[in-house]
Assembly symmetry: C2
Homo-oligomer: 280 residues x 2
Amino acid sequence: MKYKRSERLVFMTQHLTAHPNQLIPLTFFVDKFNQAKSSISEDIRIIKDVFENDGIGIVQTTAGAGGGVTFQPKISYSRAEEIVEDFMGMLKTKERLLPGGYLYMSDIMGHPTLMNSIGELIATMYGREDIDAVVTIATKGISLANAVARKLNVPVAVIRKDNKVTEGSTVSVNYVSGSTRKIETMVLSKRTLKEGSRVLVVDDFLRAGGSITGVINLMEEFSAQVVGVSVLVEAKQVEHRRFNDYTSLLKVSDIDEFNQSFLVEEGNCLEYIENEFQKA
Amino acid sequence: MKYKRSERLVFMTQHLTAHPNQLIPLTFFVDKFNQAKSSISEDIRIIKDVFENDGIGIVQTTAGAGGGVTFQPKISYSRAEEIVEDFMGMLKTKERLLPGGYLYMSDIMGHPTLMNSIGELIATMYGREDIDAVVTIATKGISLANAVARKLNVPVAVIRKDNKVTEGSTVSVNYVSGSTRKIETMVLSKRTLKEGSRVLVVDDFLRAGGSITGVINLMEEFSAQVVGVSVLVEAKQVEHRRFNDYTSLLKVSDIDEFNQSFLVEEGNCLEYIENEFQKA
């Protein structure tokens, strides 16, 4: 079967976006379409232009015998603003406030379209970093970690608070939970994360930062380097956080259980993305 | 800016695959490209043909004022075979065998490309069903549930074994864990799942079926209808399973800890997909 250019473009666009951050050898398309390399290169140029003009991502080609094409998701600044705004609209509803000043967020974590968009946003922030794995804490962080890891094309390592028979040998650290002031334990299966990995830590909510500090300590046990920490929501007005360098999509403050109210504002992620675009 | 057909096809292909099972109004593309509806319809026809010939999915158009186009992921039978085979290759390594005859699977659950492919496979199996939510049990099932829900474009509801302050009001049921014979509890936040939903239940491993039976009981409390149960791996040679109708990708049997060996074979998912294609 002979493919026309229009048909090749449809197939290639689908294939590239379905395999983010993965080198596709040019020969894959050459063989599939039975076309000269020069035609395939021209197809890729068309895709590259649309992807870059429409804020979908970067298309990089590498020359030579082992050459190929890589699609790296990278959204535009205005798309990032839109995602943060959508998320804010969802978070703002006062029915989210639970006894103890906690926010109900399970529906947000279970919203695949929103998680996918946020995954693109976080992958855009850290796309220039060399990342081997996304690390998160069970249970809530897992959906976010999956969304980010899918875009970066790296594995997810899930830290647990209990030690299960299905994990094999584990490494554990103790940490002080910021909210309850209790000493708790977190464990990570030894084979889930390679020694010396460069990791991005993600989580749903950052309160006092006790568990993220625990994660950072646990990463030391794996000789891993924490490239970044990114959370969906941070609680403002919390002091003594034991790490400074993190990004957040939203900030929550002035939680008032009696009046059932709280304030939501933008986190620092848009600033971070703006800087990324200036560097690029 | 005027888009050429080639450029429109790239954008539209990306947009459709990024929004599976979501109706995109034709006017979205008409306005974006400043083109007549007839040209856009011709673009869609090209995409539809490639998607159907190459086993990417179905493209459905609905006519009229509120008309639009929907992309539904549907992989080919040969692609499904390939996914099952890849997964089998990964699962077969004997280093997975843990004390007690458990299998280490955390790396599989944390492998975003594999999870995405399996998500497409399960979405292909249940694509003709009317599904409102994907339900799973924390922690291991979450990555699979996300992958499936993303393709079906429905929310995920995560059942937990502990009751957290961040869940709000919950409904709980007790169940007998098949492996430990202990009575355990599972809880689901009331607002995570609408009453009367049609749900697809997914999980990583099916052993005696105690926890899936628990999920089915819990679903009754939500007046939810279980449309299907799909697991990655089932243990063969287990009797007295309290439900019969489920799909699995792989079956594991003859687990021999002493000789560090076990058998892996195909589950019934390929049969199920074959039937789906015959019905279509």
